[in-house]
Assembly symmetry: C2
Homo-oligomer: 282 residues x 2
């Protein structure tokens, strides 16, 4: 099957690698407005050819939209205007704006709204890695608006990537990812800013980072190109959970300030419940 | 050299493993008020014998205090009251209260205040692992109050663990660890609480955790036994950095709410500077 990937970054590039490696894709056509990324993707063999988005659509059976989310809502209607029998899959981190912008499109059936829940803090074609997705969950949204054929092919693709599929509406998706994934990024970006401002000595940060800062701040390395549009598109849900987060911190602050060890024990004990949910093997 | 370890948890246990494995310790004597931990430590061969703290002190050349920090400030003066030529090393995560409580003790020279900057989110004797400390930094505090012999032996021990040594005052230590390590734990505990309250469906948390939540929340699995006394002892420094953190979140919230993409790009771009400081190899 000939597959085109629009947006040759971490996610699109890693999908290309796996789909080519396991033989699902006979050819990967790359599309990216960034010429440097196109050259890199060709040179490290992420893609076989680079084409314009229109030619790529004409010549492939499946097109994966893997650009930052503000481009997906722009590209998706344009692509559906020109689509024939191809299946269009987007893999953006917000789902309601994309699904909504083509809800009544005559070719809506050709489109599947997905979100593979995997990533690293790196970006660009050279960040692509094999097996990024294996045993992580892929979310499929608003599946009743997609044709059976489109869902069938999307199922095959994510199966090839090693991802179990969970279905929900795009509205539910944006709520739940705000609650779990997006707030983690906000918390991590703000932590990096705080430490950078408070601790002027970079050597101290480096020396003390292995006390836990390194893992908590990992997501703060994520790029503004990807995250600014996600935060803007999912603002309402993120604000809601961010307000809760700030309240928790203020309560925590009070327990620390008054050295209320009973309250601190209770707060930390409650927080520890996350261990069971994340099914820690220890 | 015969070494006693008081507090058979992650840190004390992991030190015991390495010091025994590389031959530095001829025998490890374990001390713990928790009998179950004593039995576990014996059965997994973390320690060779279990003794009371008084007998352990009599029979060893070095005693490592690796209990939660509220016990260190209680045990340290008692141990120094009875010390002869032994070297006493504490490895707690706060340093000013410990160093201060024996500042004028006649045997102060026998004591070295240290903090090996390594750990995991697990606790108890079974959490002990080999090479936990390798290539992480050990902080030595107020070294001018320790005797040359005590510093010499402490140097040898941390050298055996593979740790480069950085010196600062105990006051500086507590400030810098609040700025980097302790705030990371507060941020992570509060994140876990927020997500547990907001997202009632544990399966959703599990499914979406690989979107970054898993690493950001790792520290929230840390135990109240260890962290409540750290937060209480270092309250003033932690409150100061926590206030900055809450301010950053409020500014971030404003940029998200107004969908101010310029501000979001700027905030995230600033946060990304942490990448260089953590000397990310990519």
């Amino acid at each position: 099957m000939r597959i085109s990937v629009v947006g040759l970054g971490l996610i699109g590039g890693s999908m290309a690698l796996d789909l080519k490696a396991n033989g699902f894709a006979s050819e990967i056509i790359g599309v990216d407005y960034n010429e440097e990324h196109c050259d890199e993707a060709l040179s490290i063999k992420l893609v076989d050819r680079i084409l314009s988005i229109d030619l790529a659509l004409e010549q492939s059976e499946v097109m994966i939209l893997a650009t930052p989310v503000q481009h997906i809502v722009k590209l998706l209607p344009e692509v559906l205007n020109k689509v024939k029998s191809q299946v269009i899959i987007d893999v953006g981190s917000t789902k309601y704006p994309a699904s909504e912008c083509v809800r009544d499109h005559p070719s809506r059936g050709n489109y599947v709204a997905t979100h593979p829940m995997a990533g690293t803090e790196f970006s660009g074609p050279t960040a692509a890695i094999k097996n990024l997705f294996r045993n992580k969950v892929a979310i499929f949204c608003d599946v009743d608006l997609s044709s059976k054929k489109a869902i069938y092919i999307a199922n095959d693709i994510f199966d090839c990537l090693g991802m179990p599929i969970v279905k929900m509406t795009s509205k539910q998706h944006d709520l739940h990812t705000a609650y779990v994934s997006h707030i983690s990024h906000v918390s991590s970006f703000a932590l990096a800013l705080t430490v950078l401002k408070k601790e002027k000595d970079a050597q101290n940060i480096f020396n003390l980072a292995s006390g836990g800062f390194d893992s908590t701040v990992r997501l703060a390395k994520s790029s503004p190109e990807m995250w600014t549009p996600i935060l803007a598109q999912n603002a309402k849900n993120i604000i809601s959970v961010l307000d809760n987060y700030i309240s928790e911190l203020i309560q925590f602050r009070k327990a620390i300030e008054t050295q209320d060890t009973d309250a601190l024990n209770r707060i930390i004990g409650e927080a520890n419940k996350i261990r069971k949910i994340l099914k820690d093997p220890r």
